[in-house]
């Protein structure tokens, strides 16, 4: 029984992807179009293109820049968001300005940062990613802190929690579902900016490599680059979900209990 349900699950999960890849394989098999090379060629090109060397020299630096910028954005966003969210006056003071900065599409930051420093070093790229990821984290933290249960805050005060433990256990924990929503939005913006920053000041990194392939009409290689980016996106969002499920286990449990499921 369990074997059968497991097999069923596997068939459901893998069925469509396998079918689609098969379809892609068959349809593109005799393709002579330069844009859509046969899938077999792309698969062949993959191991040749993404050698260990190349992964270390362009994929790893890209991902490191992404994670550095992202981490900065989350730390700054949560800290500033908590400070802003806790005081009504500060919130009212900052809100319209924040709305404006959030409304600027993050890729537009690239030319502005390029004005300051040129756009060659890693710092400019990290700053771009951090600035772009900051707003969703910041605004969601503000919302989360604002939505805290007054009773809990008062209770913590009555029991004379220290400021530090009140911040950690009541404020941050209470706002954490919202913070995590913001962090998830920020992650996909971060991936976009990682690529955009490399397309713009193309010198090194995964995005730069893909552009290089495209300009030299190495089309199967370009496709492997696109697939590589896709895989990175999928892996990052899977890791995020695992971390989130751990950190917010209490919240999901609470919600399930609320719904009586």
């Amino acid at each position: 029984m369990t074997v059968r349900s497991l097999a069923r699950q596997a068939a459901l999960t893998l069925g469509l992807p396998v079918a689609m890849i098969a379809l892609w394989w068959v349809v593109s098999a005799n393709s002579t179009s330069i844009f859509w090379p046969p899938l077999s060629e792309i698969v062949e090109a993959f191991p040749e293109t993404w050698t260990w060397d190349r992964i270390v020299n362009s994929v790893v630096p890209s991902v490191v820049r992404l994670l550095t910028g992202y981490t900065i954005a989350v730390v700054v966003g949560v800290a500033a968001g908590t400070a802003i969210g806790l005081s009504r006056n500060v919130r009212a003071f900052c809100e319209p300005s924040m709305e404006f900065f959030r409304a600027i599409p993050p890729p537009v930051l690239v030319p502005i940062i390029a004005l300051f420093t040129g756009y060659t070093g890693a710092t400019a790229k990290i700053v771009t990613i951090a600035l772009g990821c900051l707003w969703p984290v910041l605004l969601n933290t503000v919302e989360g802190v604002r939505g805290l249960d007054e009773v809990q805050l008062d209770t913590a005060r009555c029991y004379r929690f220290r400021t530090r433990s009140r911040l950690i256990h009541v404020v941050l924990r209470g706002a954490s579902p919202q913070i995590s929503t913001g962090a998830r939005q920020a992650l996909s913006i971060g991936v976009i900016l990682m690529v955009v920053s490399e397309l713009f000041g193309a010198n090194s990194g995964l995005g730069a490599d893909i552009v290089q392939f495209q300009r030299s009409f190495a089309i199967p290689q370009m496709w492997t680059g696109i697939i590589m980016l896709g895989l990175i996106g999928v892996v990052l969002s899977a890791i995020f979900r695992i971390v989130e499920n751990r950190a917010l286990a209490w919240y999901y449990g609470l919600r399930r209990a609320d719904r009586g499921a």
Partner: protein, 277 residues
């Protein structure tokens, strides 16, 4: 006893006055905040903290912006951006809602597609940039593909959540009364899914603008983003900032527009009714 009697009257009379006064104060504080930001941007280069070749004073940015308002080419660019955004968003909405309702209301289809949706969704749409450049170059189609791809997933996932949220009792009731398939979609699924559809619309509207501007900036599709790129590389610093301000204003307008649509579409829904009351 006396306390419980006086408490309600307090809660009825006090909040209305304080709420209105509070809102006015919030607005004043907000305008003050914006003024401080503008002042800081004005002063930083004037005092010499930041080189004015990198960050011109706010007054200079605004003057350039004012000049731009008289240029026909500026309005053409703005129109190009808005058109690309609107067409892409419309296609993504129609496709996302249609696919979402069909897939969401057929359990087998939903089970089969779940993994694929989860896989395709996080693929950053910018990864498609090299491909669309190759096929369409800097024509508007390039931007359109990116915009549609990126915003489609936002809508689809929301619609799938929405359809899954339909109360099973209501659905079974409709089934036992032998509602036709169309009637079920119209009277049972659609009202439940609508709030999610609207959320999807709001998210997609913002994402579509990001991708439209990105495509203009990087690929050179005509529009505001392209002009920002040109201004930056030709060293027209205050023009660069002026155009970024315009893009920010467009972003705010898009957000406000999405919120108005939300109010309209969900006039009957308790979340909006509570907010207005």
């Amino acid at each position: 006893m006396g306390a419980t009697l006086t408490a309600p009257s307090q809660t009825v009379t006090r909040p209305i006055r304080t709420r209105r006064a509070g809102r006015l104060r919030d607005t004043v504080l907000g305008i003050l905040g914006l003024a401080v930001v503008v002042l800081v941007i004005e002063l930083l280069p004037r005092v010499g903290v930041v080189d004015s070749r990198f960050l011109p004073p706010a007054s200079e940015m605004l003057a350039t912006l004012w000049d731009q308002l008289g240029e026909p080419s500026f309005w053409t660019a703005l129109g190009d951006t808005l058109r690309g955004w609107a067409i892409g968003l419309a296609i993504a909405m129609v496709a996302g809602v249609a696919v979402g309702i069909v897939v969401g209301s057929i359990p087998l289809l939903r089970a089969i597609t779940a993994s694929t949706v989860e896989f395709l969704r996080p693929i950053p749409s910018v990864a498609l940039i090299p491909l669309v450049v190759l096929i369409y170059g800097s024509q508007p189609q390039s931007a359109l593909i990116l915009v549609v791809y990126a915003s489609f997933w936002q809508v689809l996932v929301q619609v799938l959540y929405g359809v899954a949220d339909v109360d099973p009792v209501v659905r079974d009731t409709a089934h036992s009364y032998r509602f036709s398939r169309r009637a079920i979609v119209r009277t049972v699924i659609w009202p439940t899914a609508l709030p999610y559809v609207v959320t999807g619309f709001r998210l997609a509207a913002a994402v579509a603008l990001i991708l439209e501007i990105t495509a203009e900036l990087i690929i050179g599709v005509p529009g505001l983003g392209q002009r920002i790129g040109v201004a930056q590389s030709s060293g027209a610093v205050s023009l660069t900032y002026a155009l970024v301000i315009v893009v920010g204003l467009v972003g705010i307008t898009v957000n406000l527009f999405a919120r108005v649509v939300e109010r309209r579409a969900l006039r009957w829904h308790s979340s909006v009714r509570r907010e207005i009351a």
